[in-house]
């Protein structure tokens, strides 16, 4: 018996020798070329034109072969694919309306990713309009993920960069069809040439007829070029995953960066106003500020490449933020340095210069932080709302230094009231980004929400005793507020799938 077992096991381990099949090999046109030849343009785009995906909705039925093919033909990571298939559903009466929707990068005319990238890691190819991501240029700051209204770029943890669809430009260059175009059994996806600029506006058919509760982004943010044809979307149609209460990423390095820099600056500005308040406040202010600066680095997948931040200054608020904080950086250090250096000739001059310069530079830096979020066009992150959050952190910390417990208490309570008043939107009948955020806050984030309030109240109570415990309680409370800011935001994206969602 043992001999037979050994024999069978050894037979089992034999694979066919591929050599025998070498006769198959020859350098020939791809076997699928006759199939996809009419699914890609014959000529390159002329001036005023670019390549775009066209999806015939009446031919897309949700088989998802495009997702698999994108994964396999691009050699992506084990669960990575640059395409996704979701669904729009609509109507209230049976039988209901449903449409599966395949989507990937829309190679926008005015790409949010490209405009937001601080280091120029995105390029829009001049001749084809393809939005390319330069993987080796990317610093992994993920700002493009926040900027893209379609949730296209995806972060690769093991590489510390994002990756995204490049319309299989290597294939297109050789007259081969992109993976998704090749693989669609019903020829629902093709590459077409579309007009750009003014002329494009009239011809755009991007999720035609979307209603205001669809949970899709407005196409005028980035001018997506994909054409969705073949089936009209009723105004009741909305993304099948619209109501899924999945909280967004918490971005803890950003939470720390924002709260620590803002509270650090609050302490420092207060000492500028009232220099007698003591060196301890200045020292802690500098430490917090520097800690905030350091935690920002943890948000980068490739921090050593971040020196190129100036490449994005023309369009990216993240570039501007880095510049603003870089210019600001010496001032707090000088401010604390002055306290510890023995008297020298121009010490007083230096002291007053820093004292005058620091507040405007600090406020400018915080303003750039605000604009980073405002520029994503997400409702919860609108400039008024974000300013209120960010600047109030600075002011609240400052008030503790200035030993104004009453004003601090009133302001803190006002901020809490403003935050909690948002929760009333959760019962709104119609979907809106704000109602969605409110539902997240009242649902999966309710413990964060409650803890934030509790810590804030403790800070108020403590402020009547001593500023020090109040400062640290405030830090905790504001960190939770900021976590909520990131987690409860309604991030627009292409329609996802129905059924249980995982974060």
């Amino acid at each position: 018996m043992q001999t037979l077992i050994d024999e069978l096991l050894s037979e089992q381990s034999v694979l066919q020798t591929p050599v025998a099949k070498f006769s198959d090999y020859h350098d020939r046109e791809p076997d699928l070329a006759p199939h996809y030849r009419q699914l890609i343009p014959l000529e390159k785009p002329r001036s005023g034109e670019q390549y775009a995906f066209e999806v015939a909705l009446d031919r897309c039925t949700g088989c998802k072969a495009c997702v698999s093919a994108c994964h396999s033909l691009n050699g992506l990571d084990e669960d990575e694919s640059w395409r996704d298939v979701g669904a729009m559903v609509g109507g209230d009466t049976a039988p209901g309306w449903q449409q599966t929707v395949t989507s990937t990068c829309h190679h926008c005319e005015d790409p949010g990713c490209l405009n937001g990238c601080p280091v120029g890691a995105y390029e829009k190819e001049k001749d084809t309009g393809i939005v390319r991501h330069l993987d080796d240029q990317c610093i992994g700051c993920s700002y493009c993920i926040l900027k893209c209204p379609y949730d296209v770029p995806k972060y690769s943890k093991k590489r510390g960069i994002v990756r995204k669809c490049d319309m299989c430009h290597q294939r297109l260059m050789e007259g081969e069809a992109p993976a998704c175009v090749q693989s669609c059994p019903t020829e629902a996806i093709r590459i077409v040439t579309v007009k750009t600029g003014e002329a494009a506006q009239a011809e755009r058919v991007f999720m035609d007829g979307q209603g205001e509760h669809s949970a899709l982004a407005e196409s005028d943010i980035t001018q997506p070029t994909t054409r969705y044809t073949g089936r009209h979307l009723p105004t009741t149609a909305h993304a099948a995953d619209r109501d899924a209460l999945v909280a967004q990423h918490s971005h803890w390095p950003l939470v720390l960066m924002l709260v620590l820099t803002q509270s650090g600056l609050g302490l420092l500005l207060a000492t500028c106003l009232q220099p007698v308040s003591g060196v301890a406040f200045s020292l802690v202010g500098v430490i917090l500020f520097m800690a905030g600066m350091v935690s920002a680095v943890f948000h980068l997948g490739q921090p050593l490449k971040a020196w190129r931040f100036f490449l994005g200054l023309r369009t990216s608020w993240l570039s501007r933020e880095i510049l603003a904080f870089s210019v600001l950086l010496p001032l707090p250090l000088l401010w604390i340095g002055i306290h510890f250096i023995s008297d020298f000739a121009s010490k007083d001059f230096l002291f007053s210069t820093v004292r005058v310069l620091m507040p405007p530079f600090a406020l400018l830096a915080v303003f750039t932080s605000v604009m980073i979020y405002h520029d994503t066009k997400r409702s919860l992150w609108r400039v008024d709302r974000t300013s209120l959050r960010f600047f109030s952190t600075l002011v609240l910390t400052g008030l503790l230094v200035l030993n104004q417990p009453w004003i601090f208490g009133i302001l803190m309570m006002a901020k809490l009231a403003w935050e909690y008043s948002f929760l009333r939107l959760r019962t709104q009948k119609d979907w809106s980004p704000d109602a969605h955020s409110a539902r997240l806050m009242a649902g999966p984030l309710r413990f964060v929400c409650m803890l934030r309030g509790a810590l804030a109240l403790c800070a108020v109570a403590a402020s009547f005793i001593s500023p020090w415990p109040a400062i640290f309680l405030l830090l905790g409370a504001e960190a939770l507020e900021r976590m909520m800011f990131f987690r409860a935001v309604s991030a627009p994206k292409m329609p996802g799938n129905f059924g249980p969602q995982t974060a």
Binding site: L8, L32, T61, D136, P185
Partner: protein, 737 residues
């Protein structure tokens, strides 16, 4: 990284995605996955039978795959399961060594010698004490038919047991019985080309768009501007894409078809030449004479006018009408008669044997059709009958075994085997490549009968399936891609599957496991010619001589590969050039009279009707294109997993949900008389009010389903039973006024 360069257009990260020509007609491929060679293999999931081009490295190990262009089935396309077919092979929960339950009740790794010794001594012991009916096997439609035949012949002729059935009972037994009774042989008429040739395509209980996307591809290639009618209680993906959706009342299909037959006969829209090839027409006409649209309306939920209109559409003279059904019909308490009602409609309107016509079953598993001919369970291997002495003699001669070894009495069907186990008559069970502890209707019953079994053997790729975890002995099997053999698809096309990957550890192909067991049992001599799968293919091929499924014209695997698969029948001397063929063009059927039989029975209402306690109807079915059956394989693929919800959900009408304030995404419970399951609410008007839909892939779903069976096919009626929906707070959706 070069710190001096402002733009890094190239570098290690960029190079990860560089492509180069893959040769072999593949076009560009990722550089790191450039193949040294390619080979072809039929996909091992569904019965569509797509051919995949497997990309191999220098050692012959598969590294990637693409669907095969030019193959007559899939024409270079595949669904995600096909694209990801290699993923399930490389997972940590593969069974890599036999596992035997020790005295402490724990599963222990043992060598093949111990495993086989335990297998033989246990089963021989049971056989000695309780006879040849005391052990049964439950196998599968997922393995090559050479392996199926080995199991069936070894178990019945070698080991001397009687009862064996397969999970094909769950998927196409109804179609088998419908064709056998109507046509005299289990011979589905269609070729996939008929999808492209049809003017009216009627899809009944079939969601092609996600269950058989490649067949939907064929529908979309139809250039005749066809009317596509979907008959389904749900507004499925296919219903959305069709020209007409008929949201039928669950299990109203037989009544509908009988009323259509009534209208067509009443209006004289029949085809006399075609009727001449049938028997029983007068009796059937008499039977349906009272079954008018008014009678059918309340049973179908349709208006009499809509039924009349449909009758006209499907009997339009000069139009090619094709009927296609899947599990919505097969898994029904009156599925056989329902399938035959469609066969009858095709026969009386002349829609058979011509391009774009037919009453066609779309089968489930990759080798369900192989099992129908060669598994030696319901019918004697090679398309024969156990009850017929000349068939037994022919098979005995063909296999070179004594004729006394071939039983003349039939095997119990799946449900009867389990009932016998519950009653203690069957003491040993051998489960091969299937997962009944998850998939069998009223799955809770299996757990209850487990303790009645003296010995339970599970032979599978994985040690983690619900069934493997209940076993006394787990035999580690090689999976698809780790062994060779043939599959037969829904259009009767035989094609090969290849070895492209090494099985992990001590796992072996089912073929080799059977060989080992034959030797250990002491009947190895009977199978001395069964050296490897292709040798068995030749033996089986020769057995089919003179049967409707005659394939004696096929030379071997190379012939199948060279021809892009071959449809049966293919007797010696068949023309060599054709790639697609349909049956019954000559109006001749396989019955003794050569005429097709028109068969019918009165419609009966679904066995478990909703009532005050369980007021809703629970529908089950395929969830997404990336999920397969109990997900033992598809859940192992990271890509397929991201394309399907990870936990069970219940599709529920928003107005039903609002009755007890169920919100989108709420955790709720769906209950039947047999069990309950926690699910997430998915509110969508794609189901009708009073009905809910539960995808079948999740653990625990079949604890809810109702164990009734079609009386002719013994196929379980999975699709509809009574249920109720409860919130966490204990509130039920009430019966509708």
């Amino acid at each position: 990284m070069n710190p001096l360069i402002l733009k890094e257009n190239d570098g290690p990260l960029t190079r990860e995605l560089v492509q180069q020509p893959g040769d072999f007609g593949l076009g560009k491929v990722p550089s790191r996955l450039k193949p040294a060679s390619t080979t072809t293999s039929i996909c091992g999931f569904c019965a569509t039978g797509c051919q995949l081009n497997i990309h191999l490295d220098k050692q012959g190990q598969a590294i990637n795959l693409t669907p095969k262009p030019g193959y007559p089935v899939n024409l270079g396309m595949a669904c995600p399961k096909g694209w990801q077919a290699l993923d399930p092979l490389d997972t940590p929960d593969r069974a890599t060594s036999p596992l035997l339950r020790n005295s402490k009740g724990e599963m222990e790794e043992v060598g093949w010698d111990r495993a086989v010794e335990a297998f033989v001594s246990k089963l021989k012991g049971i056989q000695k004490d309780h006879g040849r009916e005391s052990v049964a096997f439950l196998s599968t439609g997922q393995i090559p038919f050479e392996e199926m035949a080995f199991l069936g012949c070894l178990f019945k002729f070698g080991m001397g047991f009687l009862h064996g059935d397969a999970n094909t009972r769950q998927c196409m037994a109804t179609a088998v019985m419908a064709y056998k009774q109507s046509f005299g042989f289990d011979a589905p008429p269609a070729s996939y080309a008929d999808f492209e040739e049809s003017d009216v395509i009627v899809l009944v209980g079939a969601n092609l768009c996600i269950a058989h996307p490649i067949l939907w591809q064929r529908v979309m290639r139809n250039k005749r501007n066809p009317t596509i009618i979907v008959i389904d209680p749900r507004a499925t993906e296919t219903a959305q894409a069709a020209t007409q959706h008929i949201p039928l009342k669950p299990k109203g299909d037989l009544a509908l078809f009988q009323a259509l037959t009534h209208c067509i006969i009443r209006d004289g829209r029949t085809n006399p030449q075609s009727i001449a090839n049938t028997e029983g027409y007068e009796e059937m006409a008499e039977f349906v004479s009272e079954l008018d649209p008014l009678w059918a309306a309340p049973k179908t939920g349709m208006t009499p006018k809509a039924i009349e209109a449909l009758a006209e559409t499907v009997s339009e003279p000069g139009k090619r009408v094709s009927w296609w059904w899947t599990m919505g019909v097969n898994q029904s308490h009156e599925g056989v008669r329902c399938a035959q009602a469609m066969i009858n409609l095709a026969l009386i309107t002349g829609n058979i044997g011509k391009p774009g016509t037919g009453a066609n079953s779309i089968t489930g598993q990759c080798n369900a059709m192989g099992s129908r001919l060669f598994s030696n369970t319901t019918s004697l291997v090679g398309g024969h009958d156990f009850a017929m002495a000349e068939h037994r003699a022919k098979v005995a001669e063909g296999l070179g075994i004594p004729v006394e070894r071939i039983p003349h009495d039939p095997s119990l069907a799946y449900d009867q085997i389990l009932t016998a186990a519950e009653e203690g008559r069957i003491k040993g069970l051998w489960i091969v490549a299937t997962n009944p502890f998850h998939s069998w209707v009223d799955a809770g019953a299996l757990e209850r009968l487990r303790s009645n079994l003296e010995f339970l053997i599970v032979q599978d790729m994985y040690r983690t399936t619900e069934s493997a975890q209940c076993a006394d002995l787990v035999l580690p099997a090689a999976g698809w891609g780790e062994k060779e053999g043939c599959f037969i698809n829904s259009e009767r096309r035989l094609a090969t599957t290849k070895v492209v990957s090494r099985a992990p550890g001590k796992a072996m192909s089912d073929f080799r496991i059977f060989k080992l067991i034959a030797e250990a049992w002491g009947c190895g001599g009977l199978f001395s010619q069964w050296t490897h799968p292709e040798a068995v293919f030749h033996i089986l091929r020769d057995l089919t001589r003179g049967r409707p499924c005659d394939i004696t014209g096929i030379e071997g695997y190379d012939h199948l590969d060279a021809r892009g698969g071959i449809q049966w029948p293919y007797p010696m001397g068949s023309p060599r050039e054709e790639t697609e063929r349909r049956l019954y063009a000559d109006g001749h059927f396989y019955t003794p009279s050569g005429k097709a039989r028109l068969l019918y029975s009165p419609h009966t209402e679904m066995p478990e009707m909703p009532d005050d306690t369980y007021p809703m109807i629970l529908l089950t079915g395929r969830g997404t294109s990336s999920q397969w059956h109990t997900q033992s394989r598809t859940a192992k693929s990271p890509v397929l997993s991201r394309l399907a919800p990870a936990t069970p959900y219940l599709e529920l009408h928003p107005e039903d949900a609002s009755e007890i304030h169920i919100q989108q995404g709420d955790l709720i419970e769906v209950q039947t008389r047999r069990g309950s399951l926690e699910v997430e609410a998915y509110l969508a008007p794609t189901v009708q009010r009073g009905q809910v839909f539960l995808p079948m892939h999740y653990h625990g779903v079949n604890r809810l389903t109702h164990p009734t069976f079609d009386p002719h096919s013994r196929q379980p009626s999975y699709k509809a039973c009574a249920c109720r929906v409860q919130t966490k707070g204990g509130e039920f959706i009430p019966p509708r006024a």
